[in-house]
Symmetry: C2
Subunit: 143 residues, 2 copies
DNA sequence: AAGCAGTCTAGAATTATTCTAATCTTATGG
DNA sequence: CCATAAGATTAGAATAATTCTAGACTGCTT
């Protein structure tokens, strides 16, 4: 509410807008609102529907098409990472650093694994002239 | 074509039927046909649609609902394993032994990794009283 | 301020999957 | 064997998730 707080918010917006511009995306009203939800809080695992609900409940009016557009363009630009659990459950991860996941089969929730708690001793070479773009480890837990 | 071959086929059917009964499934006509496609050939990565096409093109008349029923019950009984790549691409793996995969982003194909080519040095403990039901490693390759 | 490329949107369309409810089949056991 | 019940199959409807379309709108460059 103070001038200081307002300044912080404005800075934050400027930072967000820069983050978008850096990857070649225009900081439009909708993208800024979604980027705020997605990128200016802690690391999260979000679905299209949960992002839509969250935006809507914050009074951000955005169409579902825009939600999908944003999730996919953000992912393509490296601001998000997609993690698919099964044919009806796909998450977008706001943590784009290399890390792995627990998946709780009962609750359907994903949880980051501490980086040093999982370690690959051996990773195969990619075939031919191909290269590895990502390694995903999902540890399924029955509880 | 010979008597021997016919006997082999009959044996194979008997073996298949037993495999189904062993896990508590009735060896119905449709399931036998699908189990034949799924379980009596080499290890494969199959989608609902590809199984449907394959069955249909072999003259096996089976509804898509039965395809999904079979894939899910087989999976629940441990005869198959499901691997989800993204929200629109889910495979069923006829290889249920512990193993990991390459995913070729361009072609959309999955390929088994030689078991000794990937090794986890460190796997975290499951939280609480939970236990790890499976560890999936998918190595994405851009080619 | 003008113009263009990029973006947004509502709603339709598509795709994947599941459900429903009627019909059919396998296993059982008398 | 045959009756029966539990389990399985099916067509088609329904649902859910995602993508497409085409027109309106806006951020950015000049
Ligand atoms: Mn679905
Ligand atoms: Mn889909
Ligand atoms: Zn994560
Ligand atoms: Zn495999």
């Amino acid at each position: 509410m103070t001038t200081v707080d307002q300044k912080k918010l404005e800075m934050s917006d400027a930072v967000l807008a820069d983050k978008l511009r850096e990857v070649g995306l225009r900081p439009t009203r909708q993208r800024m609102a979604l980027a705020d939800i997605l990128l200016s809080q802690g690391k999260r695992h979000i679905t299209a529907e949960s992002l839509y609900s969250e935006a809507t409940s914050q009074g951000v009016n955005v169409s579902l098409a825009t939600i999908y557009n944003a999730l996919h363009t953000f992912t393509a630009k490296g601001l998000l990472r997609e993690i698919s659990i099964d044919s009806n459950r796909s998450y977008f991860d706001t943590n784009t650093e290399e890390h792995h996941h627990f998946y709780f089969e009962k609750s359907g929730k994903l949880e980051d694994i501490e980086p040093d708690h999982v370690k690959l001793a051996r990773v195969p070479d990619a075939p031919d002239g191909m290269s590895i773009s990502r390694v995903d480890v999902v540890i399924r837990v029955d509880g």
